[in-house]
């Protein structure tokens, strides 16, 4: 049965009295069925026509309920910029209540912020289609950042009921906003503020949805800043804590985790790749080339996938992974030389030429020197004799055994 505005007010009041956060979130969601009902039954509601409802329930909920109807009205009339404006007003009224209450309000906070961001997205998209300027998503990000402070300032509630249980979700949402508008550097302040707080529970105690989203964005941020060791660590935890049915999110994590782990010397197994055909299509040729030490195949894969890798910001990472393939090629030279401890530079030079690289002998020598320096090969080069002298044992250590694999790339 369609509900009218007084019933809606009563339901809000009941949810507040019961301290029922999820129910409150439901009541404030524009996509809930009562949203349309209210727009219909109130007939073209405006701030003026609804003003007489002020004072009918505890402040600021009378005004929040009015804002809710105004937001729904604009959504129904396809006026996303206005809808966003009304929702912003709703959120700032909600903040007034939120900062004086405990953690039970968090489900409602998450919900109104999510809706604000979605409406900002619609508004910016709508503006773009009409060649207009719109910065709603940036504005939404600022509001979300404000929510972070509002969670952090809870000094009164006991920890188990604290608003601080909202911080990781909110920071995750803020990062999502900044990534979307490609203003990634703006995440730094909020991330720093979070990292500098000592009086919140450890991340592992937060709901897994919060942990995984937060770690994904921190991992991405570290990746883009070329802090590969940290990126690998965060994305590993994001992947292993992710719900296995959230297949698309797992795909997004692995798109960066796989190249990072390759650099470290860990290749994804068929068991893993079978589950992610999109990633198998992207990475299998590289992995096969590394396994076989087939430099020509690796370079072909790079050329064929260049556009996709550029779009994903992964081209440089895969170019770095080429060294593992080079290691494989040089290892094959060593195997073919019956694992001799002395292998002429000319042999490595020859292997490069067979792989389709027309390089000078000097460059071959340089490539060997580089692999020795980076710990892929154990030995030294006698430049006068043009001879590579390899360690008698473990001349080609496993790539995964290098002590600091990310520090020399």
């Amino acid at each position: 049965m369609p509900i009218d505005f007084s019933t809606f007010l009563t339901q809000i009041n009941d949810a507040l009295n019961a301290e029922n956060g999820p129910n409150l979130a439901y009541l404030l969601r524009p996509t809930s069925p009562h949203g349309k009902d209210l727009v219909k039954s109130l007939r073209a509601p405006t701030a003026v026509s609804l003003a007489h409802f002020k004072g009918s329930i505890m402040s600021p909920w009378d005004e929040i309920a009015i804002q809710y109807v105004l937001t729904c009205t604009h959504i129904a009339r396809v006026r996303p910029a206005e809808a966003f404006k009304e929702q912003s007003q709703l959120v700032s009224l909600f903040f007034r209540f939120f900062i004086e209450n405990k953690g039970w309000t968090l489900p409602a906070l998450f919900s109104v912020l999510r809706d604000l961001r979605d409406l900002a997205d619609d508004a910016d998209w709508h503006a773009k289609v009409h060649s207009e300027h719109s910065e709603c998503k940036m504005e939404a990000a600022r509001v979300v950042a404000k929510a972070f402070s509002n969670c952090m300032t809870d000094r009164a509630s006991p920890m188990e009921e604290s608003r601080k249980w909202g911080v990781y979700y909110v920071v995750g949402l803020a990062m999502k906003c900044y990534f979307k508008v490609k203003r990634i550097s703006l995440t730094k302040n909020i991330v720093k503020a979070l990292e500098n707080t000592s009086d919140i529970p450890p991340l592992e105690q937060y709901p897994r949805a919060h942990q995984v989203t937060y770690r994904y964005y921190i991992g991405m941020l570290s990746f883009l800043n070329e802090e590969f060791a940290k990126a690998e660590q965060e994305l590993t935890l994001a992947f292993y804590n992710c719900h296995i049915e959230a297949h698309d999110n797992q795909t997004r994590i692995l798109a960066y985790l796989i190249p990072l782990r390759i650099l470290r010397g860990h290749l994804p197994t068929d068991e893993l790749l079978r589950r992610f055909p999109l990633l198998a299509d992207l990475f299998v040729p590289f992995i096969a080339a590394i396994r076989a030490g087939d430099l020509a195949a690796f370079d072909r894969a790079l050329a064929q996938r260049e556009a996709r890798l550029i779009d994903l910001n992964l081209l440089l990472t895969l170019e770095k992974a080429r060294e593992l393939c080079l290691r494989g090629l040089f290892r094959r030279v060593w195997i073919t030389s019956a694992k001799a401890t002395r292998v002429p530079v000319s042999m490595f030079h020859c292997a490069l030429r067979i792989s389709g690289l027309s390089v000078e002998a000097e460059e071959a020598e340089c490539l060997v020197a580089n692999l020795i320096y980076k710990g892929f090969v154990r030995g030294y080069i006698s430049h006068e004799k043009q001879m590579v002298v390899l360690a008698a044992t473990n001349a080609f250590p496993r790539a995964a055994d290098r002590p600091a694999p990310f520090s020399l790339i």
Binding site: F179, K182, R208, R252, P268, D311
Partner: protein
């Protein structure tokens, strides 16, 4: 993430030319497409059994096969690859090393 998509409407001819590969590229990227983003989880929390931790049997996530994690391989060196490349390599190396020996004498 990248700013590659900032399209300049100035040169429509060039834009039209670029359109095609871009299209197929986006199709290939699927959920990794630029405008696609990390999704909200339907539930807030879940236990180990619903994650990839479940298959680890207690080993550290990402430890690789030698550490008990079957999703990653840290020991892939194969001493017995036999393919065209190996044959070619061996032939060339034999030639090269003969050359070296000849020169030494």
């Amino acid at each position: 993430m990248s700013s590659a998509s900032t399209s300049k409407p100035a040169d429509t001819k060039a834009a039209a030319k670029e359109d095609k590969p871009k299209e197929s590229r986006q199709a290939q990227l699927g959920v990794l497409e630029e405008d696609d983003e990390f999704e909200e989880f339907p539930a807030a929390d879940w236990d180990d059994g619903q994650t990839d931790l479940a298959h680890l049997g207690g080993s550290a996530p990402g430890a690789a096969k030698s550490g008990g994690d079957n999703l990653w391989e840290d020991n892939w060196d194969d001493d017995s690859i036999e393919d065209d490349f190996s044959v070619q390599l061996r032939n060339e190396l034999t030639k090269t090393s003969k050359g070296e020996t000849a020169m030494e004498h």
